[in-house]
């Protein structure tokens, strides 16, 4: 396997006195889709927040492209090539679709050829191009997710952290969104994804990571995780130890 683009070492942290991450370890090879699965409360979203500098870590280290990026500011992380698409609706409803995308370039400063990047982003999403002058609030749920992805691509990130992209989308839109993620991977972008919809997510993934109680339980080829009988068990509520016993 090639040198990982992202590695997290022994992350410990949480909210207030509550510890969510309990020594989380994993690494992600470049130009892959890696999906993190695990039961509710496993710390999946919290890992993303930790990577993106939104959670003060008590312990641990995050390396990205050979560099220590632990607790960097969001702007610094964006400029290093990481972007984050959180769960839920993350658009600016009263700005136009085009302005929403344009805001993705804010962190870059002057050097960026913004109009060209916006055009490139709109090329990937024909639906957004058709509606680029409309208020973003008029988009459908799936289009709003596309808008968030388009916005995150403006800085040409090397790593996209995407949390539950399929939530609330129709099966067709989920398929479209996953196709976009696959095409990004084929262009060399690394995708790290959290998905409740574990089966379909693992089907398009190269690697799967199973997280439980803030610890990494398993890192393996996505297909193997998909076929692992213990995984179904885990999602039905039982812990891995119980099913193994």
């Amino acid at each position: 396997m090639s040198e990982p683009i992202l590695s997290v070492h022994n992350l410990v942290g949480g909210y207030g006195k509550m510890t969510i991450l309990n020594g989380t370890n994993f690494s992600v090879p470049p130009a892959t889709i890696t999906t993190i699965i695990g039961p509710n409360g496993a710390g999946k979203s919290t890992v993303f927040k930790a990577i993106f500098g939104l959670l003060r870590l008590r312990e641990g280290k995050i390396s990205f492209a050979g560099r220590d990026v632990t607790n960097l500011s969001q702007r610094a992380l964006l400029n290093a090539g990481i972007c984050y698409v959180p769960q839920g609706r993350n658009i600016f409803p009263e700005l136009s679709v085009r302005s929403n995308i344009e805001l993705g370039g804010v962190a870059a400063g002057k050097g960026l050829d913004l109009p060209a990047r916006i055009e490139a982003a709109l090329d990937l999403f024909p639906a957004l191009r058709r509606k680029s002058a409309q208020q973003a609030s008029t988009l459908s749920g799936g289009e709003q997710k596309q808008l968030e992805i388009a916005r995150s691509l403006l800085l040409e990130p090397k790593l996209v952290l995407i949390d539950e992209p399929s939530i609330g989308l129709s099966p067709l839109m989920v398929q479209q969104t996953f196709d976009i993620l696959k095409s990004l991977r084929d262009r060399g972008v690394t995708i790290l994804m959290i998905e409740q919809n574990a089966r379909s997510a693992l089907e398009i993934s190269d690697i799967g990571i199973v997280l439980e109680l803030g610890q990494t339980r398993m890192v393996d080829d996505a297909k193997r995780i998909l076929n692992d009988p213990r995984i179904g068990q885990l999602f039905l509520g039982g812990a891995m130890e119980e099913s193994a016993a």
Binding site: F52, L54, Q74, R75, L78, C83, Y84, P86, N90, I91, F92, P93, E94, L95, S99, E102, L103, G104, V106, A107, R151, S152
Partner: protein
């Protein structure tokens, strides 16, 4: 008929000033959930700062610049750092109550250290009338309208046509996501406080020649701007503009056709009607908030 035309022009002029104050009010609410009950006093104070500068020997133009700058420092930066930031940690309501205290504080301080009497204030527009469509219209009204329109057009251009404005809107509409994509949210919030301070100083400059500089004049102004903001839609700049103009006209028509004594009641009745039948305001959008 002539009377109605004059009333409309005068109403629009006052309304344009209300609009400036209401726009600042909604901007603060949108970006920082600050309900500034001292907004009226914020309009009253800059005139006194300008008068103080003139008493110290500054010419009028210099006093205007000093007044606007001082307002931006005191009512923009100072207000945010010394009152809003520390109080915000305790919630929206304690902050709103603190602004009421600030209103009383500013009012009493002006009464104590300046004067309890009304002071005349020079106008930036020459006095006199011009004839429009056969009606004599005061230059004062026209000047006020022109300056207020320029300010509003400038502000909406900034908000809607520039990257900085889009960043300000992003910070207001969804601060968490704005931060995630690299918008300097704190700086954008500070900017809205400075813009609000500029708008109230401008409003002060425009309205004080008409109503005189008096420590208590903020009460009426703050109330009018508050009603304007709510009527127009608390979360929309264009709503605040429409609300301001509407209240200005209504106020003037009520004074002429209903009764000067009930002048202030008419906008209030209108406010109640709007809250009853269109609680999001004429141009506002419904907001969802968990309590």
């Amino acid at each position: 008929m002539s009377n109605l035309f004059d009333l409309l022009v005068a109403g629009l002029a006052t309304g344009a000033i209300y609009a400036l104050v209401a726009v600042g009010f909604t901007l603060l609410w949108q970006t920082s959930q600050t309900i500034n009950f001292a907004q009226g006093e914020f309009v009253m104070l800059p005139a006194f700062l300008m008068l103080a500068a003139m008493h110290a020997g500054a010419p009028f133009w210099l006093a205007i610049i000093l007044g606007i700058l001082l307002s931006m420092i005191l009512l923009g930066l100072g207000f945010k750092m010394l009152l809003v930031d520390p109080m915000m940690r305790h919630g929206v309501l304690p902050l709103a109550i603190a602004t009421m205290a600030l209103a009383i504080g500013i009012k009493e301080a002006v009464k104590q250290f300046f004067s309890a009497e009304a002071s005349p204030f020079p106008s930036i527009v020459p006095t006199g009338d011009v004839s429009i469509l056969g009606h004599a219209v005061s230059l004062q009204s026209i000047g006020v309208l022109v300056v207020a329109i320029l300010a509003v057009v400038g502000l909406t251009t900034l908000l809607n046509r520039t990257s900085l404005g889009h960043q300000m809107q992003a910070a207001a509409q969804n601060p968490t996501v704005a931060r995630i994509i690299g918008v300097p949210v704190e700086r954008m919030i500070l900017l809205t406080f400075l813009i609000n301070a500029f708008l109230v100083a401008l409003a002060s400059l425009l309205i004080t020649p008409i109503y005189l500089a008096k420590f208590s004049s903020g009460e009426v102004l703050g109330q009018a701007a508050f009603i304007a903001a709510i009527v127009g839609g608390f979360n929309q700049v264009r709503g605040a503009i429409a609300g301001g103009l509407l209240i200005g006209v209504l106020d003037n028509l009520a004074a002429a056709y209903v009764s000067t004594q009930y002048r202030a009641a008419v906008p209030m009745i209108f406010l109640i009607a709007v809250i009853l039948f269109r609680p999001q305001g004429l141009l506002g959008r419904a907001e969802e908030r968990t309590v």
